[in-house]
Symmetry: C2
Subunit: 383 residues, 2 copies
């Protein structure tokens, strides 16, 4: 697969959001062909979208797959039966369904991480309010409840002290007919959140970016500081060891993002996995020799991976959440670009909506504090 | 124009080559809409090409212009009458025809540079072999003859010792009916070639990149070393002063590339102008905070310009000329990317042809000699 027919490599991305959009620039530079199956017209990846359709419709996905050499994803929502049928038809799919299932189902993920010996918060799969209440009482009277499937950016996550606070979720599971469980986890007393990104090729080559610190607001990533500042470099080594063990253990291909908690006693616990480019890696567009988007393309096409070293001592990425009330981000460019000529401004070409990720700003430089201050100031001009 | 209707800014590029192609990534990141009028299907900028047609056909160009907020260029070949009619119709065109004429006609350019007091080689516009022979004899028995229009990459340039060596060009000029002249210049005893890029907005803001050294082979740019190594920084200051004076003096908008000779006695003489992103600026994709392609878009949209500082002490760009005999550059990725994980490889998605610019490789780093060696080694894998 390293070079398709006539030397042309065609990558197909299912999902038309900003992650697909940001795969297009490195595809252009590398001379790879990229196609996007977008859910609807006018999505963020519109430039590259040469097909619009429902990723839950098998025939739509099969027809799209016939136009490319490898299928990959902007999100984790394509149903397993469709993915397995693609493989049965001989289509290269990365990450493979056997790996992707762990990013699709948080309970499967917890089971697999336990089997791999990876440190995670105490957890249980609970089938009803009684089981949930037992867990809550055994873990200090409060816990985090998550739906196993479909959550993102704080959706599908609640902190509860009483089991009846997620009665609606149990009701929905019962009505689903397939039965099922909720995931409950101890409320970790963490000092901060971290993210470790790695990329892995089907042939096994794996490269890790520097560990980053992520700052969430209302369950949504707000800021990323690269590299994560550390008193003890052993933590970064441990985070990389864990992420590589997971990538290898689940057979991940493409970019794998491992979100982690750092605890007061200096341990790291795995919180979530994503098997695609991830918000915590947007800094890498300018901040790394090889961005997560370029690396994802190289990895899923089974091409040799690029260097992941930082291009500067510090990089900070700030999300633009919501965006200017009067329109997409360019309405503020006259002011923002003049005030911050060093800031790299990214607009996803989305209309403003409260809390929506409409773009981000990255600044790189020598001094971490100055870089953080400038990135925040530039991003604030889009509020 | 800083934000078009509904905050959406639409830039239209006439010409579908690699310069248009490399404008697409920054347009995606900034959330600008970009359209390309390509000469034919399957060109380098195919991804963004939403129109295919002849730039010499007025109605094709006018129809394309109606779909965008500003028109700019991948080349300098659009006829002046079409450009002037666009402006008469109220279309924003950058660079404006009044400026672009100096990049279209080398004799007009020489006249204007003389008027601006910019140092250039001795030159004359010659109407026949007798006038040319007089110039040659007055300048040491050899001189450089150029067609005023249409030359690029060494085409339309000959070194002669006798006037009859360009008899075919005089014959063609006579048959053209409009009459006309050839440009003849002294053969400059230069130590090396340099290029100074600047970008200028319609509102006047101008920013310059560091001066670079360019190495030509057979009249084609082969290597670019950024910044140009200097014993005396006064030369770089002088080059920037000259380029800014030209940008201001001709009213250039967008990127202006000024190719220069450095003479044995330490002077710089202007050789050629280009009013668009230029091969000597490809290093800036990774090597500058703001690449020439992003800056060109910002400039022609009259948005504030970005910082042009280097991202590393040294950057070297090597052109891939001709390319692998067996197909486009990705046929060599398995070998080349594995051997050079730090190299940034750019393929223009062109089929190989002797001498054709099919891509380039850039390496950035601390040590200029090491960076040069690595860039050359990586590019050589595509020979």
């Amino acid at each position: 697969m390293a070079a398709g027919e006539n030397g042309i490599i065609r990558v197909g991305v299912i999902g038309g959001g900003q992650l697909a959009r940001m795969m297009v620039p490195p595809a252009i530079h590398l001379g790879l062909r990229i196609g996007v199956l977008a859910e609807s017209a006018g999505m963020s990846a519109e430039r590259a979208a040469d097909a619009v359709g429902d990723y839950r419709d098998p025939e739509t996905v099969y027809a799209f797959a016939e136009t490319v050499d490898v299928v990959t994803f902007d999100h984790e929502h394509v149903p397993q039966p469709i993915l397995r049928e693609l493989e049965a038809r001989g289509v290269a799919v990365h990450p493979r369904p056997d790996a992707l299932q762990y990013a699709q189902d948080k309970i499967l993920m917890r089971q697999r991480l336990d089997a791999l010996g990876v440190p995670v918060p105490a957890w249980a799969a609970v089938a009803d309010e009684r089981e949930l209440q037992e867990f809550v009482e055994a873990h200090g009277g409060r816990a985090v409840v998550k739906t196993a499937r479909g959550g993102y950016d704080g959706k599908g996550v609640r902190v509860v002290s009483r089991a009846d606070e997620v009665r609606d979720w149990f009701t929905a599971l019962a009505e689903d007919g397939r039965g099922g469980h909720l995931l409950v986890e101890e409320l970790v007393d963490f000092t901060r959140e971290l993210a470790q990104l790695v990329a892995r090729r089907p042939s096994g080559e794996t490269r890790a970016w520097p560990l980053v610190e992520t700052v969430q607001r209302d369950g949504v990533c707000a800021e990323v500081i690269a590299p994560a500042p550390f008193d003890d470099p052993a933590t970064a080594d441990e985070a990389e060891r864990i992420a590589r063990a997971i990538a290898e253990g689940v057979g991940a291909t493409g970019v794998l993002a491992v979100e982690m908690f750092e605890t007061r006693d200096g341990r790291v616990l795995v919180n979530e996995l994503a098997m695609r480019p991830h918000n915590s890696g947007h800094f890498s567009i300018e901040g790394s020799v090889t961005s997560q988007f370029e690396q994802h393309l190289r990895a899923v096409a089974d091409l040799p991976l690029g260097d992941t070293a930082m291009t500067a001592p510090a990089a900070v990425m700030i999300n633009v959440l919501g965006g200017p009330t009067e329109g997409p981000m360019p309405v503020r460019y006259a002011e923002a670009l003049a005030a911050h000529p060093r800031a790299k401004v990214h607009s996803y070409d989305k209309l403003p909506r409260p809390g929506r990720k409409v773009g981000h700003v990255t600044v790189t430089g020598e001094d971490p504090a100055a870089v953080l201050a400038e990135a925040r100031a530039a991003a604030a001009l889009f509020d």
